[in-house]
């Protein structure tokens, strides 16, 4: 009693109910019920494979372990003309003569007719359940041991629904095979769609081979639709048992395909009102349950299952551009692909948010960078302005010395001119000496030009990119500028240089300015010194990559506590200093990757030293 075992395990109240039920159907559960499912066409042929699957699963669900299920298929239905039932009947007789069947279920009309024919020989007392027979083909026998689950296919309704969905349709191709049954259905359908004559043209595939069908279906005129009725055998007599038949049509077709069997729904059928295999199966299984539990088939009226409410495949609607608003009322849309949004909503929100945050951050960073660039540019501009101002101040501080320096060549020129006048007034004039005089005048004029040139170069305001600057040249330039001032105060200046020229990468004027600021500091420090006044510029190569320029003076030196801070802005030890010279010098030196510092010399005076990176020349 395997059936009771789980029942006793359930709660008391339910167990009582269960016991009452078992008592009522005590006989039915005594032994497994032997049921034969007899099909008309091959089990694999569409849509029968789907019926088999559904029926079996529904039966097993309803009668777990209680049904001994046999399946057989008549196969003969597709043959044209009369066929001999004998051998197949013998086969079944051999199977079931010793094992009486409790029920035989026939699927589709040919099998039902076979059973009706062989009733007396094979299934004398076996109840007969006719399943899936179109009511037009069903012939009710006088047999009281028989009942039916019939189907009713309203072809006109199907065609009308196609026109509803695709209102512009002018042509419908109807796929039908060449078997007698299929030819029967052609006439049935033709008769039924008579009212649509004039509205739409029909093409019938009964006389086409499978290949011709595919060819035709791929070249349908615009505004066509396909109605896939049934295809068991083509015009060449080739049975179309392959379950993939429908999908080949679907792939070849250039028009939407409709049908009445929902077995192909989901694999290319657009949809519409269709027979529901599961609904038919449920009805069959319900009838089976009643018969198995002892009800007489005669007491069970035949059930008719009509077309189910229209269903449509969303993917096909998309494929053929069918508006959902064109679908009949109360249609169901299946296989709707979840939209990207509903499928990835949180991912999308998350990514969008992340991208947004990142964009904001990047924007903020870019903005910051822009601001910093601008600030840097402004600060650089200020530095250049300040440096320029410092140069102007330096020059104006020395302008008297420099202007006076100009008087040297001017004085010489005037003297020479005077001498020439005197010489010319004599006769004969001393031509050789006059030549000398003119040469000297030219020389002095050039010298005057140079003095002005040094200054003009130094006062340049344009910003040129740094180049390679010779240190000794820069120092010479500075000497040219400070010589008058040094001379005025009786200060000697010396340049202690290396034999080979050294180059640093800088703006020449900037380097000059640094050296000039240091030189002027040195001169200032020595103005009031009575002992020796000597300023030395000493260049020393520290290593392969750097050079030190030292500016040494014999002046008053730097107060010890100010050695570091003299490089800060507005720190000065002079009475009239701006406190910017050394600050600018340091800024410039650091801008070119160098450093600068000050110290006091052992025997008095200060030493300013700066180290700059050397330009490397390819060997």
């Amino acid at each position: 009693m395997s059936f009771l075992a789980p029942a006793f395990r359930i709660l008391a109240g339910q167990a009582m109910l269960a016991l009452l039920f078992f008592a009522a159907s005590g006989e039915a559960i005594a032994a497994p019920k032997r049921v034969l499912l007899l099909y008309s066409f091959g089990l694999d042929a569409p849509p029968w494979g789907e019926y088999s699957k559904q029926l079996r699963s529904e039966l097993f669900k309803k009668f777990p372990n209680e049904v001994d299920l046999f399946e057989a298929t008549l196969e003969t239905a597709r043959f044209p003309g009369d066929v001999d039932d004998g051998p197949f009947a013998d086969y079944l007789a051999a199977l079931f003569s010793k094992r009486p069947l409790d029920l035989v279920i026939t699927v589709a009309v040919p099998a039902a007719l076979f059973v009706q024919r062989q009733r007396q020989r094979l299934f004398v007392n076996t109840p007969h359940l006719i399943a899936r027979s179109e009511q037009r083909r069903y012939v009710r026998s006088s047999d009281s041991n028989e009942t039916a689950v019939l189907t009713e296919i309203d072809f006109l309704a199907i065609m009308q629904s196609i026109l509803h969905v695709l209102p512009t349709t002018e042509h419908i191709a109807i796929v039908l095979g060449a078997s007698p049954l299929e030819r029967y259905w052609k006439e049935q359908i033709q008769g039924e769609v008579e009212p649509l004559k004039g509205r739409v043209a029909f093409t019938w595939f009964n006389d086409l081979s499978f290949e011709d069908m595919l060819k035709t279906i791929s070249r349908l005129p615009p505004k066509s639709a396909v109605f896939f009725a049934t295809l068991a055998v083509d015009a060449n007599g080739v049975p179309q048992m392959d379950p993939k038949v429908f999908s080949r049509f679907r792939d070849a077709s250039n028009a939407p395909i409709f049908g009445y069997e929902d077995s192909s729904f989901g694999s290319g059928l657009v949809g519409g009102p269709m027979l529901s295999i599961s609904e038919i199966s449920r009805n069959v299984v319900d009838a089976t349950a009643r018969i198995v539990s002892g009800a007489a088939p005669s007491g069970l009226p035949a059930t008719v299952v009509g077309l189910a409410a229209p269903r449509y495949d969303w993917r096909e609607l998309q494929r053929w551009g069918i508006q959902e608003t064109n679908l009949p009322a109360r249609s169901r849309i299946d296989f709707r692909e979840p939209s990207f949004w509903s499928q990835h909503r949180w991912t999308v929100i998350g990514i969008t948010f992340a991208v947004l945050v990142q964009t904001l951050m990047i924007s903020a960073l870019l903005f910051e960078r822009f601001r910093r660039r601008r600030a840097e540019a402004a600060s650089r501009k200020r530095l250049f302005e300040l440096a320029q101002m410092n140069r102007s101040l330096t020059v104006s501080a020395m302008s008297s010395s420099i202007a006076h320096e100009l008087n040297q060549p001017l004085g010489a020129i005037l003297n020479n001119a005077g001498a020439a006048e005197v010489l010319l007034s004599k006769s004969p004039p001393d031509i050789d000496q006059l030549k000398e005089i003119i040469a000297d005048i030219r020389k002095d004029d050039e010298r005057a030009g140079e003095i002005i040139g040094h200054l003009r170069g130094f006062l340049r305001t344009d910003d040129v990119p740094p180049g390679e600057v010779s240190i000794s040249r820069a120092i010479e330039d500075v000497f040219n500028i400070i010589e008058p001032e040094a001379g005025k105060h009786g200060i000697s200046i010396e340049h202690d240089q290396l034999s080979q020229p050294l180059f640093v990468r800088a703006d020449r004027v900037h380097l000059q300015q640094v050296l000039l600021n240091l030189a002027l500091n040195g001169l200032d420090a020595m103005k009031d010194i009575s002992s020796s006044r000597l300023m030395v510029f000493r260049t020393t190569q520290i290593d392969e990559a750097s050079v030190e320029i030292a500016v040494l003076d014999t002046g008053t030196g730097i107060p010890k506590d100010k050695l570091k801070e003299i490089f800060d802005s507005f720190v000065t030890t002079k009475q009239h200093g701006t406190g910017l010279g050394l600050s600018i010098a340091r800024t410039i030196v650091e801008m070119y990757g160098g450093r600068i510092w000050a110290e006091n010399r052992d025997h008095g005076g200060a030493a300013f030293r700066l180290v700059l990176p050397l330009v490397r020349f390819a060997a």
């Binding site: 100009l406 003297n415 005197v422 001379g487």
Partner: protein, 206 residues
């Protein structure tokens, strides 16, 4: 006493300038000597005392003022004319106070230069003349006997004969005789003239 050709000494560290200056002066009939530095001038300190110095102010080593000071300490009769590119009022005043003949800024106009040089040469002639006079007076004073010199020194300081006689331990008459002999040797008629000579020879400050 002969009147020697004056020499214009040009002291300037600027070669171009000193050459041109010399050239101008020579062309105009002067005799010149050029020096690249104050030290070079001092080394060749000219015995020839007719002329003047055209002196640059700013020179390395020894500058114009220092040379001027140095010359003032010796018996210099060469007037100094500063010719400088760095002339300012302060330097000019300092130079004139220290006895410079003139202070010319470079560049110098030819006429101004010649005027200045001429004035300096006149001054030089005066100084030389004066120096000659002093030299001859000093020779006269040197011809005094020791006693005459003693008496003369006291007389010009305004001492009375009586006081001198008492101081030197002799008689008024002897003093009068020495006094007359000295006046005769100096060739002066009046006592005032004798005091003037003594003053010029610097005997009063001794």
């Amino acid at each position: 006493m002969t009147s020697p050709t004056p020499i214009i000494h040009v002291v300037d560290d600027d070669a171009s300038f000193r050459t041109s200056m010399s050239r101008l002066l020579v062309a105009s009939g002067y005799q010149t000597a050029i020096y690249a530095s104050a030290r070079a001038f001092l080394e060749k300190l000219p015995v020839h005392d007719a002329g003047c110095i055209l002196l640059d102010l700013h020179m390395p080593d020894v500058n114009g003022f220092e040379l001027q000071k140095h010359l003032a300490e010796s018996c210099n009769v060469l007037p100094i004319v500063f010719v400088t590119a760095h002339g300012d009022i302060k330097a000019g005043v300092q130079a004139i106070k220290a006895g410079a003949e003139d202070f010319l800024p470079k560049p110098v106009a030819k006429d101004a230069l010649f005027q200045c040089v001429e004035r300096a040469l006149v001054r030089n002639a005066e100084r030389r003349q004066q120096q000659d006079r002093l030299r001859s007076m000093r020779a006269l004073v040197a011809s005094f006997t020791p006693r005459e010199a003693e008496v003369f020194a006291l007389v010009v300081r305004g001492k009375l004969n009586k006081q001198i006689a008492h101081e030197l331990g002799t008689t008024v008459r002897t003093i009068k005789a020495h006094r007359q002999a000295g006046m005769d040797k100096l060739g002066v008629k009046s006592f005032a003239e004798a005091v003037s000579i003594a003053e010029r020879l610097g005997m009063l400050s001794e």
